[in-house]
């Protein structure tokens, strides 16, 4: 196994250009499970922890290498709350937001926030330059993204003027160390506009446009409107049965979580 440990973005892009099939390694919390359980033996690994550009974080940009541990203290409540639910302290030390995008699991805890705020994913390669993709152009299916060979995930670009009210919640078998059965991030602007994105209840994170339109039109949403919001969300998700949950329970949980987040935002 050839392991490359670039110390700058330039070196990282060169490494990926020279080895188009290389396996990028960020925190390793997904990749090493495949190594340990599925006998995955990458031929070339490009280890990204030493690339300073991927560690950058400011008001509009989060580098792909920013760890969950750092994000628990981030100024975006919807993302900080999600970061606190990722794995355990040990996992949060290593795991990164870019890893959520690279793995593209529907259960990625950071993804509902990105979908709710309509973030863009910034990627780059030596030959193709930098591309910015809307979150739903990047996340295209379960464990599938639109990253091209030799392309690196640089990070996430956030729109200006994000809604201040951001809430995240997640349903799992216990509070710690769980992969979501259902998760959601709800954001509410000062004009009352509400957006909600849901995780683990579809092939990618999903928005619930009918529920959003209904509740955003309510000046002062009543308990009945909140219940209707939850019902619509439950209708709009597209869950499957798997070893973690039935589709029916996921649908139910999505509706409950949506209503609770709305109540939190209105409180």
């Amino acid at each position: 196994m050839l392991v490359l440990r670039p110390r700058s973005l330039d070196e990282a892009l060169d490494a990926l250009e020279a080895h188009p099939g290389a396996t990028p390694l960020a925190g390793g919390t997904d990749l090493m499970v495949q190594v340990n359980y599925q006998g995955r033996r990458p031929e070339v690994v490009v280890a990204l922890r030493r690339v300073p550009e991927l560690q950058a974080m400011d008001a509009r940009f989060i580098g792909a290498g920013v760890t969950w541990s750092r994000l628990t203290a981030a100024s975006w409540p919807g993302l900080a709350q999600a970061a606190r639910t990722v794995g355990s302290p040990q996992i949060r030390t290593m795991g990164t937001l870019g890893g959520n995008l690279g793995t593209a699991s529907p259960a990625g805890d950071g993804l509902p926030f990105l979908a709710a705020v309509e973030a863009q994913v910034e990627v780059a390669s030596r030959a193709g330059g930098t591309r910015r993709l809307a979150w739903d152009e990047f996340l295209v299916g379960p464990k599938r993204n639109s990253l091209r060979p030799s392309e690196l995930i640089l990070g996430v670009r956030l729109p200006a003027g994000l809604p201040e009210q951001q809430h995240f919640a997640k349903v799992g078998a216990r509070n710690a160390m769980v992969i979501a059965i259902a998760s959601a991030c709800l954001v509410r602007s000062t004009d009352g506009g509400i957006r909600i994105a849901l995780g683990s209840v579809g092939p990618t994170p999903l928005r619930a446009p009918r529920a959003e339109a209904m509740i955003s039109a309510e000046r002062r949403p009543s308990p009945a409107a909140a219940a209707e919001f939850g019902r619509l969300v439950a209708e709009e998700v597209r869950p499957i049965d798997d070893h973690r949950s039935t589709a029916a329970y996921r649908r139910h949980a999505a509706g409950v979580v949506a209503r609770r987040l709305l109540e939190r935002a209105l409180a």
Binding site: L25, G28, M32, N36, P89, M94
Partner: protein, 159 residues
């Protein structure tokens, strides 16, 4: 094989690692440090917890080849030169917080990290810090009692 340099428990070590092997494997099988335990190999149980550059990690999920240049603290590095227990180890011992002992090295490392940053943790803070350490004997009550709001000497010894 890749040659990597680690500082393990204060000692410089040069070690050959094979492919994507985990840091846990390197510690146990190549460096003679079996204190970090091998159990789930997927980051669920915390029995392989070590401090990597001062932060807690599951060493089963760290690719050894990517740890080149890192500072690693394992449970073997805690006791003093006279083999006196680290205050965290002593507190667990004194409170009967060790049953079969398999999870203990990982619990100890998570607790050492917690107490270095927060010398007077509440029970809730201890539980959160140990959320990634499973005790198959279910001995959590004694572990939390041993570590929450510790006596002064425990806090001072945490580093």
């Amino acid at each position: 094989m890749n040659s990597i340099r680690l500082r393990v428990n204060g000692e410089e070590r040069l070690v050959e690692v094979d492919g994507p092997e985990s840091l846990l494997h390197t510690l146990r099988e190549r460096l003679g440090l079996p204190g970090s335990k091998n159990a789930c190999e997927q980051g669920e149980c915390g029995s392989c917890t070590v401090l990597l550059d001062g932060e807690p990690v599951c060493s089963c999920l760290v690719m050894a080849a990517d740890a080149d240049g890192a500072d690693v603290l394992t449970v073997e590095g805690l006791a003093g030169p006279d083999r006196a227990l680290h205050p965290v180890q002593q507190a667990l011992h004194d409170n009967g917080a060790v049953q079969c002992g398999f999870c203990t090295p990982g619990v100890v490392m998570s607790a050492v990290h917690l107490l270095a940053a927060n010398p007077r943790p509440s029970g809730i803070e201890v539980r959160e810090a140990l959320a990634g350490n499973l005790c198959r004997c279910t001995g959590y009550g004694a572990i939390v009692r041993a570590l929450a709001a510790p006596p002064a000497d425990l806090a001072e010894g945490a580093s």
